[in-house]
Amino acid sequence: MPLLKRIVSTLGSLVLTLFGLSVLTFFIGRVMPTDPVLAAVGDNAPQSVVERVRAEMGLDQPLYVQFGHYINQLLHGDLGKSILTSNPVITDIARFFPATMELATAAIIIAALIGIPLGVWAAVRQRSWVDQTIRVICLAGHSLPVFVLALLSLLVFYAVLGIAPGPGRQDIIWQDMVPQVTGFLTIDSLLAGETDAFWDALAHMAQPLLILAYFSMAYITRMTRTFMLNALSGEFVITARAKGLSSRRVIWRHAFPTVAVQLVTVLALTYAGLLEGAVVTENVFAWPGIGQYLTTSLMNADMNPVIGATLLVGTVYVLLNQLADLLYRLWDPRVK
């Protein structure tokens, strides 16, 4: 049964990679810092706490035993405690991650809806002014740090033009007024029938969303363009044209499908990049997501959340990649 074999090997590969991730985070969290205990509890912790955690972490024991503890903790969902919030890291992450997911998901949808057709257009009109303009837009997206654009956007749309709301996810009046169902404020407010809250959430989301969408779009458009250029130079495109098919049909029903599968991988990679972009964007717009959690913890030398958040992002990325790989194999007849 080749399908079963393939599933098993994929799972095995996944487990191996995740294992590697945990090794790496273990290394960063426990081996690298000069005093992992202080990193975990902070400089101001009372001595009793320090002693207790030191015993818990078992730092006097050989590394592989410590690592065993670490894996055990991970499997039980124990990522340690945050100094700042005094909550278990896993609770904090569960609270903050949906906010980032909301941004990232909306951003990638917009980026794909705009970016893919733009990339196709640029490839079809290669070397024309359309192509050059699109290339420049993408290039600018590669040459700017996310936080620069975020700051500029804040300056222009909030300070100068005054059309964007201030930082944060929603206005104070709406804080905690919308019952949590999905964690996505926009969906939750619609579900609760609070349309004003919905518009407020949307307005707050607009800036970080558009900025993240722009950066993802730059990558998606460029990859789509490259793939399409490759596809359009294929002989089968000449065949399709020789059949008397319309340009639109040749592009979208012949060239594009050969490329669609590769785009899935691109989208997976982009999503991971979005999580990265979210780190600085959330910082600028005070968006209460995982990025904000990570950077705040960083600035306060709170190691557990940093490791926990890093592990989470890494895991999401690995899962996304495997998913993309799986879709690739299922979809592309050439690989079957």
Binding site: Q126, F236, T239, G244
Partner: protein
């Protein structure tokens, strides 16, 4: 006359230079089998593709006359060209590994060609596709229709190509080196198939090849191209009376069972042939 071409020129312009790949080619084709023979780089493929404007974007085409069935194709709009492509002129490319769409099934590709020009339901088109696969002598056509191009052999792929291009019942078939990518044993079969189908349907054929003896078997007239020009144009039966030194050189290079020689002569190129 189906095809009339006079003084066709195809040039490629790059940043530093302009290269003229086709330098003033003229010929006409009726409902007959016409062959264009030449070596790589002689411009024969480009000549065939320029008729249907299937050249790459950076190619510049000019001609005094470029007509299909009296319709002027110079600078013709996509609308005009689309009425001719597929429907009235079929085009077979060289290597089915690359010229067939890799992510569409064989049946779907042929059915698409049928539906585009004849209309009808998906079901009817698919049935027509299976019929066509039978016409090109593929066994078990219903099963093959469900396969993808990379799952069939080269010879079968070319048969699929032929079926696809004959689906709209065109009047002219242009075959650009249809057998060059195939094994020697399969080459003759494919050409025979083309020959039979073209004759049965009363079509015209323009056959591009580098294989002189092969085409002289199947075609009525032969044009020999060298360095972007036609250097000789004669009936297939009169090949032995060829005048131009290039053609004579090509003929002399051919090994023969009846007149075996110790050494095959080497073609000596004369720069004067470029004029």
């Amino acid at each position: 006359m189906l095809v009339e071409i006079e003084n066709l020129r195809v040039a490629f312009r790059s940043r530093s230079e302009t290269v003229e790949a086709v330098r003033g080619v003229s010929f006409s084709v009726g409902r007959e089998k016409f062959a264009i023979v030449g070596e790589s780089g002689s411009g024969k493929s480009l000549t065939a593709r320029s008729l249907m404007q299937l050249l790459p974007g950076n190619a510049e085409v000019s001609a005094d006359v470029l007509r299909f069935d009296g319709i002027d194709l110079r600078g013709a709009s996509e609308k005009v060209l689309r009425k001719i492509r597929g429907k009235r002129v079929g085009f077979i490319l060289q290597d089915p590994k690359y010229s067939l769409n890799p992510v569409m099934t064989i049946g779907q590709q042929i059915a698409e060609a049928w539906r585009e020009h004849k209309g009808g339901s998906h079901k009817a088109a698919m049935q027509a596709a299976i019929d066509l696969l039978e016409q090109v002598k593929i066994r078990d056509p219903a099963a093959v229709a469900k396969r993808y191009p990379h799952e069939v052999s080269g010879g079968m792929g070319q048969r699929v190509m032929i079926a696809m291009m004959l689906a709209p019942d065109p009047e002219l078939l242009i075959a650009d080196e249809p057998t060059s990518a195939l094994d020697a044993t399969v080459q003759a079969e494919i050409l025979k198939l083309i020959d039979e189908l073209v004759s049965a349907r009363g079509m015209g054929l323009i056959l591009i090849s580098h294989d002189l003896p092969l085409v002289s078997h199947f075609c009525d007239r032969v044009a020999v191209m060298y360095a972007g020009r036609i250097v000789e144009l004669l009936d297939a039966g009169q090949l032995q009376q060829a005048q131009h030194p290039y053609t004579r050189g090509l003929l002399a290079c051919l090994p023969s069972l009846r007149h075996p020689r110790e050494r095959l002569p080497v073609l000596q190129r004369d720069a004067a042939w470029r004029n």
